[in-house]
Structures are given as C-alpha cells and as structure tokens.
C-alpha cells in the first residue's frame, strides 16, 4: 500500500516537472537586411552602399514584459537584465518559465535604466567585466556594433558604435514595444524576433560609416544611433 502511494507521488511529481517544462521560448535572430548575420567573414552593404563586416553585436534587454490572454495578463521575465551577444547562442534563446498564449504585446527597454548606471558595481549580466561598461565616464553601453569597413576613416578601417548614456538629454535607453495582430495562438512554443542591423544606419537619421565611424561616449551621435536602432526588432514567427 505504502509503495503504491509513493509511486503515485513520484508520478505526479514527474508529471508536474514535465508540464512545467512546457515553456515559451523567445528566439532572437540577427539579420543584415534579408541575410542572417555571420560574424567576421561575411561582407554586407548598408543603405549608402558602404561595405562592412561585423565583429561584435551585443545589447541589453531590460525588464522584458509580455501581455497575454488577449492583454488581460502580464508576465514579467524573471531575469531583469539580459545581455544578448551574437557570439553566444545561449543568450539568443530566452526561455520564459511559463507557457503563454494569445500574446498581444512584447515590450522591453533596450538598454539599462538610469538607476543601475549610478548605483555602483552590479553583478550577473551587468557585471562590468562583460565589457558593456564605460570605466572612465561611468555608465553602461546599451548596445554595441563593431566591425570593419573600407568606408571607415578610422584606424584599420574599423567602425565601432558603442551606444549608452543615462543623463538628461543623453539618455539612449529606448523602450521597445512589439504588438501582435494575429488573433488566436492557443499555445505558443516559440516566438521569433528578428533584429536587423541595417536599421542602425538609416531611419530617423542617416549615419554613414564614412562620416561617423566611431561612437564611444554618450551624446548626440549615440542618441541618433539609438533613435535608428530602436526600430530594428520585428516579430517574424509565432508557433
């Protein structure tokens, strides 16, 4: 008898674990126009026909929140600060500890809120050792795009965009809100969000590598880049 009860409990526990594993995953795919991003080797062209390669592509997703059940419920991702890096595929799969359905909105801050910029050394993805931190002028780099381009007038034809800034008139953190029109999604396993690097160069502002190859501090250029790349995300698939 006792054996049966134990077995019963074990099975229910297993079932519980199995059902909990039924999560929704957000998959981030990095693109350059219609091509999938490949670091170092591939040469791309921006809207001004400037050739470029990409060595680094990183950004912070802060306070990821999803409205589901047709906007009736809100789910906030447990990890408040998530650093996405092209070279680390694990950072491009965000596993939500909840199976979601009928999603209406996905929103997050692209960057780091100003409070974390002024509160001393942080841990985990905000650890300054992640290389997304300005040491001489305290503050986080919210997004980083580095590569080489024959159009660049900088040393070794590098171009390097480090965007950040939390102070008044320099705040480069951008709120991203992605809406979903699709009516019914009874159960969702995977949401694909694409980020298009070409958006960095054009949109609100025209940024040519030949004119501005380097952005290494908060200020006007950082703000212009942020206003461009805030439109780089699109939800391309829900299944």
């Amino acid at each position: 008898m006792r054996k049966n009860v134990t077995l019963c409990m074990l099975f229910s526990l297993l079932y519980f674990i199995a059902s909990a594993q039924n999560n929704t995953v957000i998959k981030l795919v990095h693109k350059v126009g219609d091509k999938t991003l490949k670091l170092h080797t591939e040469t791309y062209f921006n809207q001004f026909n400037e050739p470029f390669t990409v060595h680094k592509f990183k950004y912070y997703i802060t306070g990821l929140q999803i409205e589901y059940e047709n906007g009736k419920k809100k789910y906030t991702f447990e990890k408040p600060y998530h650093l996405v890096a092209e070279e680390d595929s694990t950072t491009k799969m965000i596993t939500l500890n909840k199976p979601l359905k009928n999603i209406t909105t996905i929103s997050f801050l692209l960057g780091v809120d100003s409070l974390r910029n002024v509160s001393g050394a942080q841990t985990d993805d905000l650890d300054p050792m992640k290389g997304m931190f300005w040491t001489w002028n305290t503050g986080y780099i919210y997004a980083k795009l580095e590569g080489q381009s024959d159009s660049s007038h900088a040393a070794a034809h590098y171009f390097s965009y480090h965007v950040g800034g939390y102070k008044f008139n320099e705040n480069a953190a951008r709120k991203i809100v992605l809406k979903i029109d699709e009516k019914s999604q009874p159960s969702i396993n995977e949401i694909t969000i694409e980020a298009d690097i070409l958006k960095w160069f054009a949109g609100a502002n025209e940024i040519k590598i030949s004119n501005a190859a380097v952005c290494h501090q908060p200020g006007a250029l950082a703000m212009m880049l942020a206003d461009n790349y805030k439109n780089m995300f699109t939800i391309t698939a829900i299944r």
Binding site: G120, A121, Q122, M129, T135, W136, N137, T138, G139
Partner: protein
C-alpha cells in the same frame, strides 16, 4: 522504536548546534567608522557595503597586490603611496604598464567617504566602480577584469578571505570593489596640526595663525574646510597642454562651458603630495602661488573668482605656506593599519 526517536531528536539538536556555531564563526566582525567631530555625514553608503574587519583586510590585500596588473608589477599602492597620503610621491605622472605614463597626476586618497564623484574630471559617479578604471587602463595596470577575477579565484588565500568577508566564496567584480572600498573609505585624514588646533588641543604659531587668516580670505571659498575642497570643478586658468589635450570636465559632459574645468583638489597633506595640478605641472607650492598671482591665463570658462588673478604678496605667500604645512597628518601617513599587509604583520626575508 522509541530509542530511535530519541536518537533522531538528539541528532537534530546537535546538527542545529553545529550549524549555529558554524554560522556564528563565519559572521564577520563589524568595523567602526568614526566621523571626526564637526564633519558632515559621509556620502558613502554603509548599508550597501557594511565595513567589517575581514572586508577591510581583504581590501588591503587587494590594494597592495601587484597581480591586479597585467604583468604583476603594479598594484594600487604603486601609485598611491601611504607616505604621500596615497598620491604618487614626487611624480607629475605615474608609471603604468610597459613603461607608459599616465596623463594625470595621481590624487591623494583620503576622506573618500565624503566624496560623491571621482577622478579629476569627476567622470566616475560611484566609489564602487572606481577601482575598475586603473585596473583596465592601458597606461596603468592594463589588465582585464576577467583575468583579475580568475587570478583571485585560483588563490586559496583569496577564496578564504572572500568567504570570511562576505559569507561565501563567490568572487566577482562587485565583491572585489566592495572590499577595496572598505579599505579606501577607512583612509581618513583628520589629525593634522590644523585639526588639533581646531579641537583646542594645540595652538598655531604666529606665521601659521596669520597664514590661516589669509587662507580664509583668499583660498577657502574653493578649498573649503574641513575637507579643503568644496568638491566642485573649476577652471583655475591653467592653459591647455597641447601634448596632452586634456579638456577636463568637458570630456565627460561634452559641454563647452566645462572646458578646462577640473576638480578642486583637497589641500590636506599638501606638503607631501607635490607636484601639483591635474597634470602635476607645478613642482612646488611656490610654482602654484606664481601661477595664481602672475602666470594664469583666464579664458571664458575660468572661475569668476579668478578673472583678475589672485594677488598674493611675498609675505602672504610665506604665511600661507606656513599654514599649509599644518595640514600634514603624520598619524595618517604612518598608520600601520594602512600599511602593506606583509609589513604590518610579519617580516619577510628577501633572498636575492
């Protein structure tokens, strides 16, 4: 059956007792921070980073450890020497990795608990992120944070000390900096002759007293007591050195009105922290006085108090100098508590 129960209960009690003792044993000893009489409340957040004996000792070990640099030749203390109030003695620029020069004069490290922003341009907004800057700077310690943390994790002495200070053996940037901060904020200089006079324990001689009066009229609006700085940034008419092109505060704000503004340095221990100025261009106090009364080049961002330079007679310079010498705090400069761990505890025989 009953026996088993009794045994189990006893076992539980013993376990709880052992756990209690172990937890007690790992609790670090609080370290008291004394605010000198009449001084304002420190800006340092003691709740975020409570001072403990273990944290302080760890911070001191880190401060004196050359392994924090790329080739294990430079520690924090290499450029922040106790006998020079933790400035670099007798050097306009400090020496960094691979025969490099810094581009600014290393400031004295004292009374940091009252300071809100750091560096000559005040580009660093929190003491807890300050130690990262010299560690990663190519012309200072030139090391990466990853490597520093890796080196610390591989050293069992550090693992033990981090555990003692923070309760578990996790070693990361935040904990390293918290420990360094504990050592840094304890560097309080408040026992110079000036302080003793203010407390009524000593008296100025005539030149010192006259110098103090002149100082209060001519210098104290920027070099405000008791810190001998008002923590502001000002342009004091030092022309741009075109070999360095250091524009000061403007580098941080991007604002033209901040061009050539630098932090007002504290004058505590000024006698032993020469050379002076953000780039150490003044080798003696006399050079500084000559700058103020003759050589300065006011521009549009020069402080309004200095638009017509700062006149001082030879006599006044003599008296003010006598007063400034009373700001030397020998108890701070010689306090064994702040000396390199090896020297304060045991003698090491060097065998060459």
């Amino acid at each position: 059956m009953k026996q088993t129960k009794v045994f189990l209960i006893l076992l539980c009690m013993v376990c709880a007792g052992v756990a209690f003792i172990t937890i007690e044993k790992h609790k670090p000893t609080p370290l008291k921070f004394i605010i000198p009489k009449g001084w304002t409340k420190p800006a340092f957040d003691f709740k975020r980073n409570p001072l403990t004996q273990e944290g302080f000792e760890l911070g001191k070990k880190l401060f004196y450890d050359e392994r924090l640099s790329k080739d294990s030749t430079i520690s924090c203390a290499s450029c922040h020497q106790q006998f020079s109030a933790f400035a670099t003695f007798d050097h306009p620029f400090s020496h960094g990795y691979n025969n490099s020069f810094t581009t600014r004069n290393a400031p004295a490290l004292q009374n940091l608990a009252w300071q809100k922003e750091f560096m000559w341009d005040c580009g660093i907004n929190h003491l807890e992120v300050q130690p990262i800057t010299p560690i990663v700077a190519e012309n200072e310690m030139a090391e990466t944070l990853e490597n520093v943390i890796l080196k610390l994790k591989r050293d069992t002495a550090y693992v033990r000390m981090f555990k003692a200070a923070f309760g578990d053996a996790t070693i990361n940037t935040q904990r390293m900096n918290k420990a360094l901060n504990q050592f840094m904020v304890m560097l309080v200089s408040s026992n110079s002759k000036y302080d003793r006079v203010m407390r009524g324990e000593d008296t100025f001689n005539l030149p010192q007293r006259l110098g103090y009066e002149i100082f209060k009229q001519k210098c104290a609006s920027c070099h405000k007591e008791p810190f001998f700085t008002d923590f502001s940034y000002r342009n004091n008419g030092m022309p741009l050195d075109v070999t360095i092109n250091d524009i000061g505060r403007m580098r941080i704000t991007g604002n033209k009105n901040d061009s050539l503004k630098f932090k007002v340095p504290s004058l505590r221990n000024v006698d032993i922290t020469y050379p002076y100025g953000h780039d150490g261009r003044f080798f003696t106090l006399d050079n500084v006085f000559e700058h103020y009364r003759k050589n300065m080049q006011p521009i549009h961002t020069t402080d309004s108090l200095l638009k017509n330079k700062l006149y001082l007679s030879n006599f006044q310079i003599g008296q003010v100098t006598a007063f400034l010498f009373t700001l030397t705090d020998s108890t701070f400069l010689k306090n064994p508590m702040f000396a390199a761990p090896a020297y304060s505890k045991q003698t090491i025989l060097h065998q060459h």
